[in-house]
Structures are given as C-alpha cells and as structure tokens.
C-alpha cells in the first residue's frame, strides 16, 4: 500500500492517509528527539559528576560538597576545586567543536569535515605561534583574535584548494588539502618556534590539545566569542538546511547562497578558533558528534546543532575523565582520547559511504 506523501501524483486515498502518516512520523520523530535529548542530558550530568569526582587524587563526597560550596580547606577540597574550571572548559570546548564540525559538514556538504582534519586548528596554532614569537602578544583576548584570524585563513585556503579542481571539493580532495595544509602549517610553526628557546614551552600546548590546568581567567575571555558563535550558527541553521539541497536549489528557494555560506563559516570559525587558542588542537570531536546526532535527530540543522552541542560536551568531558583514569596518576590529554574514539568513527564513515558519492 503506497501511502507515502512523497508521491507526486497522489490519489484521493493517499491524500487522505498522507497527513496521518506524516503526523505519526512527526510524533515518532518528536519522541526520538525528546528521548535523545533526555539521554544526552543524563549523560552530561553523569560526565560532570565523574569529572568532578575522579582524578589523580581520590576524594570523598564531603570534600566534593565542600569544594562545590566554595570552601577550600583540605587538599581534597582544593583538588576538586581545580577540577571545576576544567570541567566547565570541557563542556564549552566540546560543545563549540561539535557545533563547528557540524556546520562545516553542512557548509561543505562533506561528511568528513572537522576543524582538526581540515587544517583549521593548525592555522589557529600557527597564527598564535607567530603572534607570540614575532609580535610578543601575551593576553588571552589577543590570543583569541589571532587564533580566529589564523583559523579563518586556513579554512578559506583549504576550501579554495579543494574546490579549484574540476568537480569541486570532493571529500577526498578536502581531506587531502587539509592534510597538506596541516603538514605545511605545522612545519612552519616548528620553524618559528625552534630558533626561540624561550618560547619552546608553548609547543606543548599547540601540539597536543588538552584541557588540563584550565583556570577561570582563561575561560572568561572566550565566552563572548563562543556566545556569538553559537548564536550565529543557530541563526544559520535554516540556511544550512537549504544549502544541503545544493546551491541551485537553495538559490531557487530564495536563499542568498554566498551570505549563507559566509555566515556559517564565520560562526564555525568563531567557535573553533578560540577553543584552539586555549586548549590547543583537539580533533575528531567535530567529526564524530554531528554524525552520532544525525542518527538521533536526522539532518535538520535546527535540531542537529543544539544536539551536537550537548553531545560534544558529553564526549569531551568523558574523554577528559577517561584520560585521567587510564594514565592514573598521570593524565592523558583529552585530544589523544578523542583521537582514539574518533579515528574508528572516521573509518566507519569512509567505509559506509560510496567514496565517489561521499
């Protein structure tokens, strides 16, 4: 029985049944969304608890409660208190990277887009290194602007390189352009750092991304950028839905394609640039989370982006906790953990799509 509403020449009976079918489908969809949202919120609560409770030092509930209420008297209290800002940063960074990755995937219509793989993080890192070495920047706000500049330039460069060839920016071209750009930019960054023994300590932060040692002083300046990024990307969500239909279709539906692209790109860079400025490069969050969320809420970016924000927060917070537990009493940086979670997903995506159609 064909009751699908997609049938162009609908008979009388299917017109009657179509609304009911789509209503049930919508109800079902709403149910999945609700369940998924609740699940993500529960996971986030769990991740937050774990992140506060576990670490190099084993602490009990009284110490956690004391630290949460602002009393820092014992070493245990202090340990818990120092876990609070990094937990906040994990939530923010995870959400920002995941939304940024989701937007890039929509923008490039490419399932493999991710700020790390596309060389955007490497661009931010190089810009910061140059800023520190040659221009002596030392304020967090300046770091952030520099990182945004670098990330933006790298994003434009990678996308331009990949779309220069006939046939446009295929996933393979985009991934390769990202790999080439990353290689060149990290070589340049190393070249800038090596002659300068005094700033070599920075290398650690731009080679291995992590959220350990975060302080509120570092986090505060990022907030306005992230807020702007979230607002812009959410406003661009409807435009991304139209872009997903293809440029011609989007233009036909009255969308200004160039404006839509520029807006989404600015939003994505505002989200991943500042995070790279304070955490260093954290890859794969932006790749994995939107794909996982697509399974929950489908391809509608108005839903996908908020869900990705939640999912990213969960993933990065969990990764940070895992990093603390695996290498106890030392720590594994969160970016290593996300790489180990992310690479298998990346491979799964590559295997499950026809590469030509990717």
């Amino acid at each position: 029985m064909l009751t699908c509403s997609q049938k162009p020449h609908a008979t009388q009976s299917s017109v009657v049944t179509a609304p009911t079918a789509s209503v049930t489908r919508q109800r079902k969809k709403r149910g999945t969304r609700l369940a998924g949202g609740l699940l993500l919120l529960a996971l986030l609560a769990l991740a937050l608890t774990l992140s506060v409770a576990f670490g190099a030092r084993t602490v009990g509930w009284p110490e956690i409660a004391a630290a949460l209420s602002g009393q820092v008297e014992t070493i245990g209290d202090a340990a818990v208190a120092s876990r609070l800002p990094r937990t906040l940063l994990a939530v923010l960074a995870g959400a920002a990277l995941a939304v940024s990755g989701g937007v890039m995937q929509g923008l490039t219509r490419n399932p493999l887009a991710d700020p790390g793989l596309l060389g955007v993080n490497a661009g931010a890192a190089l810009a910061i290194v140059i800023g520190i070495a040659w221009f002596g920047i030392d304020e967090t706000t300046t770091y952030i602007w520099t990182a945004i500049l670098g990330a933006g330039l790298a994003a434009v460069a990678v996308y331009t390189i990949a779309s220069l060839a006939r046939g446009g920016a295929t996933p393979l071209r985009l991934a390769l352009a990202g790999a080439a750009t990353t290689a060149a930019l990290s070589s340049l960054a190393t070249a800038v750092i090596l002659p300068r023994g005094d700033i070599a300590g920075l290398a650690q932060s731009w080679l291995v991304g992590g959220i350990g040692g975060a302080t509120y002083d570092q986090i505060m300046p990022v907030l306005p950028f992230l807020l702007a990024g979230f607002v812009i990307t959410l406003l661009a969500a409807r435009k991304l839905n139209l872009l997903a239909l293809g440029d011609d279709a989007a233009a036909g539906l009255g969308e200004k394609v160039a404006v839509a692209r520029a807006m989404s790109a600015v939003g994505a860079v505002l989200l991943c640039g500042p995070i790279t400025a304070i955490c260093g490069p954290i890859g794969f969050v932006g790749l994995v989370v939107p794909h996982a969320c697509r399974l929950l809420v489908g391809g509608d970016y108005r839903w996908l982006l908020p869900f990705s924000a939640l999912g990213g927060a969960v993933l990065l917070t969990f990764s940070d906790v895992v990093g603390r537990l695996v290498a106890h009493p030392a720590e594994l940086d969160a970016s290593i953990v996300t790489a180990f979670i992310g690479a298998p997903v990346f491979i799964w995506i590559v295997r499950n799509r026809k590469v030509g159609a990717l």
Partner: protein
C-alpha cells in the same frame, strides 16, 4: 611453409632489427635514461663532496680528500669526519630509503598520493620508533625492528580496513589519513611527555632531523638499503607490469599476492629503518617518485631514479636547513614546506583520466 623472416640468416636478422624503428627508439630511450641516471648520480656525488667542503667554515677539496684518506688535519679533521661526513652519509642513505619505499607504494597502488607518508605508514613507523626510544629506552637496531613491526601493522590495518570487495585508492588514502591523524597525536604525546627529552629535541625529531647522527647509525641503514632495496629491485619487472592493472599483470604471469607482499614488506622496512634513524622526514617518500618520473619518463622503472632523487632531496634540504636559512632548521621542516605545495598541485590538477581522485 615458413614465412621468410623466420628462417632468415642471423646476419639478415640482425640487420633487420638494426633498422627497426622501435628498436632504435628503445635504444635511444635506454641511452637517454642512462644519461639521466649518470647525471643524477654525479649530482649526488657532487652534493656529498660539497657538503663535506662547505659549512660554518670552508674546507678545500684537497684537504677533504686528505682527511678521507686518513690524514689528520688540525681544525678540519673533526669537522669533516665527525660532523659533516655522518650527516652526508645518513642523508643519502635515508633519502634513498624514503625514495625507494615511496615509489614502490605509489607504483603498487597506482596513485601518486598513496605514498607511505600520506597514507599513515610512516606515521605508524615513527610512532613505533618513538615508543621504543621513549618508553622502552631502546636504541639502535631494536628501534628499527619495532618501527618496522609498527609500520607493517599499520599497513596491514589500513589495507584490511579499506577492503570492501576490493580496495579502491580513494578509500585507502582516506582511511590512511584518519589513522595517521590518530597516530600523530600519540607520537606527539609520547614525545611531549618524555622526561628525558627537551621540547626542542622532541620537535626536531618529529619534524625529521639529521642532528647528531653518528656514522655507526649509517651501517644498519646501509645494510637495510642493500637487503630490502635489492629485494625490491629483484621484483621490479613484476612491479612495472602491475602498473598496467592487476588483470593484465596476472595474464602476463605476475604472481600477484607474492609481488604485493614482497613490495609492501620491503617498502615498509625501508621507510621504517630510515624513520628510526632520522625521524619522519616529511614528503621525501611522496616527492621522489613523481620527480623521478618527470626526469626519466613514466614508462621506465622508477626505483633507482627515485632512490637517487630521494637522496639528493634530503642532502640538499638538510644543507639548506643548516646554512641557507636565517636560523638552523631540521631537514623535515624544509621538505615539509617544499612538499605541501606539490600536494596542493596534485589535488588541484585537472585529472579527468583518473577516477580515483
């Protein structure tokens, strides 16, 4: 019954062939190839001699020759024998290893992008080497063995993961890039957290550097080059035939599985041995083959030309990194900055003929 040409006398046969245009073309071709190889080898030799002469101070050729002959020249012996010679020798050997390993993969997979440094095999080898050096505190051949094991493991993993009723180049490259990104983070982490390494040392190693190489390190590299390079060369005919496609190669009597396994093992071993000594020098494996193809033409065996080009690349890039730039840079930085534009060119090039990219 027989057609006349079959029972022709030897003299007429040779005469006949002498004037055959195809024969002539081939001979001219072989001559040209020989000339190019000779020029490459001469450039390499000249490069080695020049890097022995030039540096912070200038050592005249005669003095270099006397020192090589065993004479002690105050003020120059140390520089030439301890500083410049090991560097030049290791540069040539490692470059040749990278060049051979790279072109073997590119030929086997029929794709210039499928070089070990892009599809993650070099990254695997360097992760193995770093693990052996930093965590297990090993040195010398043990490091190379672990690097080879890791490189082979990663190669197998990439191949296995990209298998889906056959392996397409695009899928293999993409999966390699994904794995490389993961392994890269492991290498960076191991090096950054190593207590015995300063950050700058770690950075140099990760970029690929010839700093502080010893002549003793050259011997295993030389043996590896002879052994695995020889093995690879012994299969070069089969490798050439594979370029025409698997089916044609099988039809022409190539044992596909055996050739593939031999080529993969020898190429990984070459890359891993070099990586264990110098670190992953970026893009040498990727660049050597295509440059060699430009020089001698695509239809010839590229193994020896690529080895020469690789050696020349590393030697010159190392010299440039040491003396031609405002500060001293490890060789991998120079090749990294050089190689990326070529990769960009390959991506943007209009290639309708090859569906894989």
């Amino acid at each position: 019954m027989n057609p006349p040409s079959y029972n022709a006398t030897p003299s007429s046969l040779s005469q006949h062939h002498e004037h055959h245009p195809y024969r002539q073309m081939r001979r001219a071709h072989a001559k040209r190839r020989g000339r190019i190889l000779a020029v490459l080898a001469a450039c390499l030799l000249a490069g080695v001699v020049l890097t022995l002469m030039l540096g912070q101070s200038f050592t005249p050729l005669t003095t270099v020759l006397r020192i090589m002959g065993g004479a002690e020249v105050p003020g120059a012996s140390f520089t030439v024998r301890e500083l410049r010679l090991p560097r030049a020798v290791v540069a040539v050997l490692a470059g040749a290893c990278f060049g051979l390993g790279g072109v073997a993969f590119q030929t086997l997979l029929r794709n210039p992008l499928a070089s070990p440094d892009i599809i993650g095999i070099s990254t695997g080898a360097s992760t193995g080497a770093v693990f052996a050096i930093v965590v297990l505190s090993l040195s010398g051949t043990a490091v190379s063995i672990i690097a080879i094991a890791a490189g082979l493991g990663v190669a197998l993993l990439i191949y296995g993961l990209s298998w889906q009723q056959g392996v397409t180049g695009a899928r293999l490259i993409l999966i390699g890039i994904g794995l490389a990104a993961m392994l890269q983070s492991v290498t960076a982490y191991l090096l950054m957290r190593a207590p015995s390494w300063s950050l700058q040392e770690a950075l140099r190693w990760m970029a690929g550097s010839l700093n502080g190489v010893q002549l003793e390190q050259a011997l295993p590299l030389f043996i590896a080059l002879l052994l695995f390079g020889g093995l690879l060369l012994s299969r070069h005919r089969d490798l050439e035939t594979l370029r025409m496609g698997d089916d044609i190669a099988v039809g022409l009597g190539v044992r596909l599985a055996l050739t593939r396994i031999t080529v993969v093992i020898t190429a990984v071993a070459l890359v891993a041995f070099a990586t264990a000594v110098t670190g992953p020098i970026a893009f040498v494996a990727f660049l050597s083959g295509p440059i060699a193809a430009r020089l001698v033409g695509r239809n010839d065996s590229l193994l020896i030309p690529s080895a020469l080009v690789g050696a020349l690349l590393v030697l010159l890039a190392d010299y440039a990194g040491q003396f031609l730039l405002p500060a001293r840079y490890p060789v991998g930085i120079v090749t990294g900055v050089l190689g990326a534009p070529y990769l960009v060119y390959l991506i943007t090039r209009d290639n309708k003929s090859r569906g894989t990219l």
